[in-house]
């Protein structure tokens, strides 16, 4: 048996989630090695591995299927819900920022885009409020249990605070550097205050198709490009930290039930946002001075958003609904 085959099998195993690897990894690699030795290439096997690995990951995230750790599956769903809502603070804000900034200069000329803006703003506002409500009990419990569980909680809390600090400082700096806030008169103040629009823009500056156009990107000031590289790392730290806290802090059944209800409400409000964003994309009008132009990045964001809504609803529905073990006959 060649070392190359074993390495290949070990690489394929990485497609499966950690807990699955811990339970079946060793024996699965042995089976893969034997399979690869017998049939080095097989499209059917590759597709089967891709599908079953994805199924295992979906189950591990508490989104469906049969999780290995049945008792912990509810908590995993809650952690996935936390991740989905954290991501929701980035992708939709990026979409929304584009419209809010456009409206600072001129109102949209179509009713559909105006309505889209209202729906998106309501969606953002509602999800923001729900997130704050969801964070409050978890943050309180995390702070309360830090003395007893500091080994488990210190790292995630550090990630959240570090990510948050970078985001607040950077966003504040770049929002103040936005042309709209440097004394240029606005033709129209829009339905969202300019400062809020500027903060939304600065915090999501990295969500852009400029990454695919390096020549254009090179024209950006160095500090702005550096911020576009640093801010997603800060966002990732925030999401990872928040998810780990949700996984590790002791939550009472009452708090879990509360979080589940908020999660279901969040799934509904994210749908409102999605409806607004879809309305804008379908309307398709660039608006005055091309301010409401729709780019390919917006379509990609919309697709990501639809997936996010699906994940939010699915995770919220399974927060306390772990698969019960089969009763002995």
């Amino acid at each position: 048996m060649s070392e190359g085959t074993r390495h290949r099998a070990a690489r394929l195993l990485l497609w499966y989630p950690r807990e699955w690897r811990a339970r079946y990894g060793e024996e699965f690699v042995e089976l893969l090695v034997a399979e690869l030795e017998e049939r080095p290439r097989s499209l059917r096997r590759s597709l089967d591995l891709a599908r079953s690995g994805l199924t295992a990951r979906v189950a591990a995230a508490g989104l469906g299927g049969q999780p290995l750790d049945i008792e912990g599956s509810g908590r995993r769903s809650l952690a996935t819900l936390a991740s989905a809502l954290s991501i929701f603070s980035v992708v939709p804000v990026a979409l929304w920022a584009q419209l809010t900034i456009g409206w600072q200069w001129a109102p949209p000329t179509t009713r559909a885009t105006s309505l889209a803006m209202v729906l998106m703003s309501l969606g953002i506002l509602a999800v923001g409020a729900l997130c704050l409500l969801a964070i409050a009990p978890v943050a309180w419990l995390a702070v309360r249990s830090i003395t007893t569980r500091w080994r488990h909680l210190l790292g995630p809390i550090g990630l959240v605070l570090g990510g948050l600090a970078v985001l607040v400082v950077g966003t504040h700096h770049f929002a103040n550097g936005w042309p709209g806030t440097r004394g240029h008169p606005w033709a129209d103040q829009g339905m969202v205050p300019g400062g809020v629009a500027a903060y939304a823009w600065a915090s999501t500056l990295f969500v852009t198709s400029y990454w695919l156009h390096p020549t254009a990107l090179a024209q950006f000031p160095g500090g702005e490009v550096a911020w576009m590289l640093v801010s997603p790392v800060a966002v990732a730290a925030l999401i990872v930290g928040a998810t780990r806290i949700v996984r590790r802090v002791d939550l009472s059944p009452r708090v879990v039930r509360f979080e589940r209800r908020l999660g279901l409400l969040a799934a509904v409000t994210t749908t409102i946002f999605l409806t607004g964003a879809a309305l804008w994309v379908v309307d398709g009008g660039p608006g005055p001075r091309n301010l409401f132009h729709i780019g390919s990045i917006d379509v990609v964001e919309l697709a990501a958003l639809a997936l996010l809504v699906l994940v939010t609803g699915r995770a919220a529905g399974r927060v306390t609904a772990g698969n019960p073990p089969v009763a002995p006959a």
Partner: protein
């Protein structure tokens, strides 16, 4: 333990009806383990031999994981990295019941075919 989903209508034991699209692999794996403990590759080869079906590794382990979580099979302690699995008493009973139900359907189907189309 002939537990049926809808009495008199669905002859599949509950464990198997819960498998959905994995019912096929589950039957094959349990039938193979009925002979004695086997590890993953030995199961693949045995099933290929008696059923002319080659279970892909991902499908095989999905089914093994489900069967194990339902208590129909269990892993055998082993120093070898290729961990063998064996049938539990509950698994043996579930398989017996499932195969009996399958045989009933097969017998009925063959009987009707013979009546309408003649014996093979």
């Amino acid at each position: 333990m002939a537990v049926t989903k809808r009495e008199g209508r669905d002859p599949r034991p509950e464990q198997f009806s819960g498998f959905g699209r994995y019912a096929g692999p589950a039957t094959l794996i349990l039938s193979s383990l009925a002979e004695g403990p086997k590890h993953g590759y030995a199961l693949t080869k045995d099933i290929e031999r008696f059923a002319d079906v080659r279970l892909a590794p991902g499908t095989m382990y999905e089914a093994l994981s489900r069967l194990e979580s339902q208590g129909l099979i269990e892993a055998v302690e082993s120093d070898d990295r290729r961990r063998p699995y064996r049938l539990t008493a509950m698994g043996a009973e579930a398989l017996r019941s499932h195969l009996a139900a399958q045989r009933k359907i097969a017998d009925l189907g063959l009987q009707r075919l013979a009546g309408t189309w003649g014996a093979a």
